[in-house]
Amino acid sequence: MGWLPWSSESKTNTASDGGRIAPDRSSRQKCWEGRDMFFSCLDNNNILDAIKDDKEARRKCGKEIAEFETACSRAWVKYFKEKRVMEYNRDKTIERIKNEDAAKVQDLKSQGWAPR
């Protein structure tokens, strides 16, 4: 199953000089596909943080998370889960600032200020 198990016995992931080999293009692609499947399942079930709500995520998207975790290494799984939360918060913040800006402009306009 891909390159996943980072167990020390695994010879297939080790280069002859001892370095561990990173996923190649096709396994990266596989991992990203697994990630997208899992995240769309999370979206459908209104789960944002798959680390905090791990139990619920596993109950509702058991098949997807299994595939995701098989296709990607542990560090990547954690990274993508964290990134999902981070991006969500980032987008929320950007939206909030935009709304605040618009409200401010509206407010100033009502006081007779004109944008240059």
């Binding site: 980072w6 167990s7 020390s8 280069a15 002859s16 000089d17 001892g18 370095g19 561990r20 080999i21 990173a22 996923p23 190649d24 293009r25 990266r28 991992c31 990203w32 990607c72 290494s73 542990r74 560090a75 990547w76 990274y79 993508f80």
Partner: protein, 304 residues
């Protein structure tokens, strides 16, 4: 636009002025004794000219102008007809428009070039923030690779690691496209070095790095070294370095690193950053502009 208008006015003024010597000269020839042409601007200069004419004869009449003489006007009527439109004619209007247009284009091109030059020279000289510098690493054949190997060519330096989840692969695909574009535009002059420095030397051995980079572009020069060498390299390029030093074999981890490309000139001075926002098109265009500026200034390039 406003800044280009003033030079245009000056051009117009010069164009009208340049027709005056011919006008004065013909006046002198036919009306040398009359001395009463209303359009003369500089009376003292004119009377001095007339005096030399009288004492030296006709030979000195060409002294103020190198333009060829126009057909001589015989009568006042011919003279008036010739000058009835004043200094303005279709020819001068066309000249005005063409010169103006050419200057607008020239000023725009020059303005962009100077802006790039300012960016390129930002890291040159004393008291500037320094990105880049001496380093010692190993290339994929195990040979020593230092900053000297980068000199004489433009280089695009990228830091990453093979276990990078999503950003590095995207950026390396972009790099591959940039390499092909620059190669095409420099017509294979071999003056551009794409360099990949691993931030994770423990896992990224030359062998691992070679097969990894091969997937993107065979021209990319992979560099690795000891933990200390890589740390030093990252410090030189002001790259945040967070690789854990002592990890157990089999332990999986990620590395935080800079996601910028660093464009370095043939003196190995930092020129500009290329980031996530750049497309392969915009990045290669930027690189080509700097390469062409460098060539235009006649500075040396190593083409071996």
């Amino acid at each position: 636009m406003a800044s280009t208008m003033r030079p245009l006015v000056q051009v117009a003024r010069q164009a009208t002025r340049s027709t005056l010597p011919t006008l004065e000269r013909s006046t002198i020839r036919t009306l040398s004794s009359q001395n009463a042409f209303p359009a003369l601007r500089n009376k003292t200069a004119h009377s001095a000219h007339v005096q030399t004419l009288r004492s030296n004869g006709v030979a000195s009449q060409r002294s103020f102008s190198s333009t060829s003489l126009r057909a001589k006007a015989r009568t006042m009527g011919q003279l008036k007809a010739r000058n009835s439109t004043g200094p303005f004619s279709w020819k001068s209007a066309l000249l005005f428009v063409l010169t103006g247009g050419a200057m607008i284009i020239y000023f725009r091109v020059e303005k962009e070039r100077i802006a790039r030059k300012r960016v390129a020279e930002m890291s040159k000289g004393v008291g500037r923030p320094k990105v880049g510098g001496p380093f010692v690493l190993k290339d994929l054949n195990g040979n020593q690779y230092t900053e000297e190997d980068l000199k004489g060519k433009y280089s695009l330096v990228y830091f990453g690691f093979t276990h990078c989840p999503d950003i590095c692969p995207d950026e390396l695909d972009k790099m591959a496209e940039v390499i092909d574009r620059v190669k095409e535009e420099t017509k294979g002059e071999n003056i551009f070095l794409p360099v990949f420095v691993t931030c994770d030397p423990v896992r990224d051995t030359p062998e691992v790095l070679r097969s990894y980079l091969q997937e993107f572009h065979s021209d990319i020069i992979g560099l690795t070294g000891t933990y200390e060498q890589v740390k030093h390299m990252c410090k030189q390029y002001r790259v945040y370095f967070s690789t854990p030093q002592n990890v157990n074999p089999g332990e999986d981890y990620l590395v935080d690193h800079s996601i910028y490309f660093y464009l370095m000139d043939p003196d190995n001075d930092f020129v500009e950053c290329i980031g996530r926002q750049d497309t392969p098109e915009s990045a290669s265009q930027l690189i080509m502009q700097h390469i062409n500026d460098w060539k235009r200034e006649g500075k040396p390039l190593r083409k071996d």
